[in-house]
């Protein structure tokens, strides 16, 4: 990865394209939420609480999707050892943490009036919580390891194992609850709500992609600056011995 590739003209065009995409995602999200709220009738049991589904479910889906990105880029890094993959994985992890945290809070806001409690050990909510903790560990690892190659390889290792653990956690928690004979929450969505849900799911997807790209570009910039500084420190200037 040469410095020239980062510090010449392309970043400008890239940044503008990204900003446009960001605006598009933002507008799309507002529109999706407005449409979904407007066209959905109240649920028979939950009443208007159903509308929370339009933020909670897409957030949950993104919280599940972004760790897959961490897994993908982590594996690619272990395979090819390119810095970009490490930065992409880290950016995805940061975004994943945000969505996981959001999912948890929204889950609690939905749960309180629906179930009467702020928390149940529901398999999906619980595995989201464990996912959040795994991501927190990932970010902590990156914070406490200073050596670049070490950090990249260890992050990839932790990210890959962490990502494959999430479905395993989900399975074990579900089995746990079944053994103790606890009812599961419904997973079917009434057809009347599907359109609103799909719209919002795409909106969240665009936002997530935008966030990851944005985070990645910042990381790239930072890395290119470090490269230049290192080259200078090694005496790469003109007229130096």
């Amino acid at each position: 990865m040469t410095n020239a590739a980062i510090t010449t003209a392309t970043p400008m065009a890239r940044a503008t394209r990204l900003s446009l995409f960001g605006w598009f995602a933002f507008v799309f999200l507002i529109a999706s939420q407005a449409i979904a709220i407007a066209i959905s009738p109240p649920d028979r049991d939950m009443g208007d609480l159903q509308k929370i589904m339009y933020v909670h479910v897409p957030a949950a889906w993104m919280a599940m999707l972004s760790p897959l990105a961490v897994l993908f880029f982590g594996i690619r890094y272990l395979w090819k050892r390119r810095e970009e993959d490490d930065l992409l994985a880290a950016s995805s992890a940061e975004v994943a943490t945000t969505f996981a945290g959001l999912t948890l809070v929204l889950g609690m806001i939905w749960g309180r009036p629906t179930w009467g409690v702020w928390w149940t050990w529901d398999p999906r909510l619980t595995s989201t919580l464990v996912l959040f903790l795994i991501l927190a560990g990932y970010l902590a690892l990156r914070a406490f390891v200073d050596e670049r190659e070490q950090r990249a390889q260890w992050s990839a290792a932790v990210g890959v194992l962490g990502a494959i653990n999430v479905p395993i956690v989900y399975m074990s928690v579900r089995w746990w609850r079944t053994i103790h004979q606890i009812q599961s929450s419904p997973s079917t969505v009434d057809p009347a709500y599907v359109i609103g849900l799909r719209l919002n799911a795409f909106a969240f997807l665009f936002v997530m992609i935008y966030f990851i790209r944005r985070r990645y570009l910042a990381a790239l910039l930072e890395r290119s600056a470090e490269h230049v500084a290192e080259a200078a420190a090694l005496g790469g200037g003109v007229g130096r011995e």
């Binding site: 510090t7 939420q33 009738p41 649920d43 028979r44 049991d45 939950m46 009443g47 208007d48 609480l49 509308k51 929370i52 933020v55 909670h56 957030a59 975004v95 945000t98 945290g101 959001l102 809070v105 929204l106 806001i109 939905w110 309180r112 009036p113 629906t114 179930w115 009467g116 009812q183 419904p186 079917t188 009434d190 057809p191 009347a192 936002v207 966030f211 944005r214 985070r215 570009l217 910042a218 990381a219 910039l221 930072e222 290119s224 600056a225 470090e226 230049v228 500084a229 080259a231 200078a232 200037g237 003109v238 007229g239 130096r240």
Partner: protein
């Protein structure tokens, strides 16, 4: 529209529901905007780093 019977749903005071719906959307936007601000700051910091290094890195 129909719904399956779900006996675990407690019937709570329906007038409270709007509070929760509003909070949900408010929290969502708060988090998304807060993270966006965090991203922008990260970008600015990185840009500042590039600028400072570009000044001294090349002779």
């Amino acid at each position: 529209m129909w719904r399956k019977q779900r006996p675990w749903v407690e019937v709570l005071d329906v007038s409270d529901n709007w509070k929760f719906v509003i909070s949900a959307f408010a929290v969502t936007w708060a988090v998304l905007i807060a993270y966006f601000v965090h991203l922008r700051r990260a970008h600015q910091r990185a840009q500042a780093l590039v600028d400072s290094v570009a000044g001294t890195g090349r002779r």
